[in-house]
Symmetry: C3
């Protein structure tokens, strides 16, 4: 429980940084940047908990999540040029975020007793829906409709985690394997421009 | 109860097909198509149940809805060209979906004891909000803001159903009259390009 | 309680008028106008209550809110030209709406026992998220990302209200000070084109 809590805070930090970095082209003010970081960081978990009817929401019960987001926004502002100069920084922060949040989301859904397929979807939603809400608000094409493998990497990691849990593999092992799998799939997909096959092959 | 369940599955199938068919111009991959079909199929009922605080959500409690959506996505892929060749196929599947879901939504809302006007709105939301969420995610103008009568046909059918229920007409009769009314209004509206009067006539 | 109820109805009326007036350029029909007014009026409070898990939703329990919205839509249609001729009418109705709803939202959140910082955010959400949902549905840039101070005025008023509540200032006084502060900040911001500093100053 303790470790899951720390991982959720770290994932929140990663996502808020990635949200604030994404603000770049938007020319937004401080409020807009904070709001964007906030929505990116808490959107996925919030949607998961609303769909599962799991109240109170994590960030409403525990104000540490808000403070983490504020610190991430400030951190991003302070090291903005350095963060951008490191190429792929945004990608890295986002990828760390989605891998952590996928497994955190799967674990929460399983703990609430839902069907494993639903748990996998909830893990993927936890990871990607914050970004989707952010993209919808800023009139971008949501990240999940973009070319490289993204949400499907989360789904793959979620199913691997659930499979290992069913085989009673130790939780830490499952956790590491699933998060690493997501990170590797995602980074390879970006590097080699991999995408899923287009819909409607047959017929 | 049994029949309502089967009707919900059928409506889910119709909506998922209509969502997957709509994907056409978007050049999406399999994940995007499945996600679009999924959102179209479960969005309206999910919003209704969240607004009414009715948990657990239908598709989270019962994984059959997910499987129905998967089958619909595959079915659409297999018969894609045939489905498109039949002109108005998309319209027909969507129209079947909204008429079924309107009545299913009204019945669920009434069974939870809300005011009839609220129940009518919930029926309309069940029918149209999945499409609205889909259109918002893909940056289209939501279907309810388009020209031909759409959501208002659902609203009309919902009120007729509630009126007949109040007059203690047999449930099957009310069901058939209301769904047929929605289908007829919608198809006539498309055929004759009927629209509601523009807002701000007076003043 | 009685007064809060009347204020919520008044705020709902203001917001529905502002939503219906905003419809202008969209060339919408009566259904679109009513839907836009409805979403603008109830969106923020609905999101707040869903996030807080506070059921039943105000407008579902009490159909007066719907009737208020219908009357506002009709009122706007009847006096449309007069309302538009008065320059800044839309701004005024919207500003009245956000100031009332901020305080109403803060009070509701505090009454549910959340952390004051969360309560301030809930007040701001109550005020601005209806407009954000409206703008998202109509593919506009959400009002909170626009230049002049908007949501941050609500946040400022919310914190002032909470501070005064902590100092045990009389409720009516806190209410008046906070709402007036929001109105003054917002109107000055529009008049003098004030905006928050751009994000990423340093680094």
């Amino acid at each position: 429980m303790e470790i899951q809590y720390i991982l959720e805070l770290i994932g929140t930090f990663f996502f808020a940084v990635s949200g604030a970095l994404a603000v770049d082209e938007k020319d937004q003010d401080w409020f807009g940047a904070a709001f964007t970081g906030f929505v990116t960081a808490i959107g996925g978990g919030t949607l998961r908990d609303i769909l599962l009817g799991s109240y109170p929401l994590v960030w409403i019960r525990d104000v540490q999540f808000l403070y983490t987001i504020f610190i991430a926004i400030l951190f991003t502002a302070l090291f903005y040029k350095h963060l951008l100069r490191l190429r792929r920084t945004l990608l890295l922060f986002d990828t760390m975020g989605i891998s952590l949040f996928t497994v955190v989301g799967v674990e929460k859904a399983l703990s609430l007793g839902v069907h494993p397929v639903i748990a996998a979807i909830m893990g993927m939603f936890t990871a990607v829906m914050g970004g989707v809400i952010r993209d919808t608000l800023t009139n971008e094409t949501p990240v999940i409709f973009q070319k490289e493998v993204y949400a499907s990497a989360c789904l793959a990691g979620a199913f691997v985690y659930i499979g290992m849990a069913n085989l009673e593999v130790h939780r830490t092992t499952s956790f590491l394997v699933a998060t690493l799998l997501i990170i590797v799939i995602r980074l390879l997909a970006v590097k080699y421009n991999l995408s899923l096959p287009k819909y409607k092959r047959f017929g």
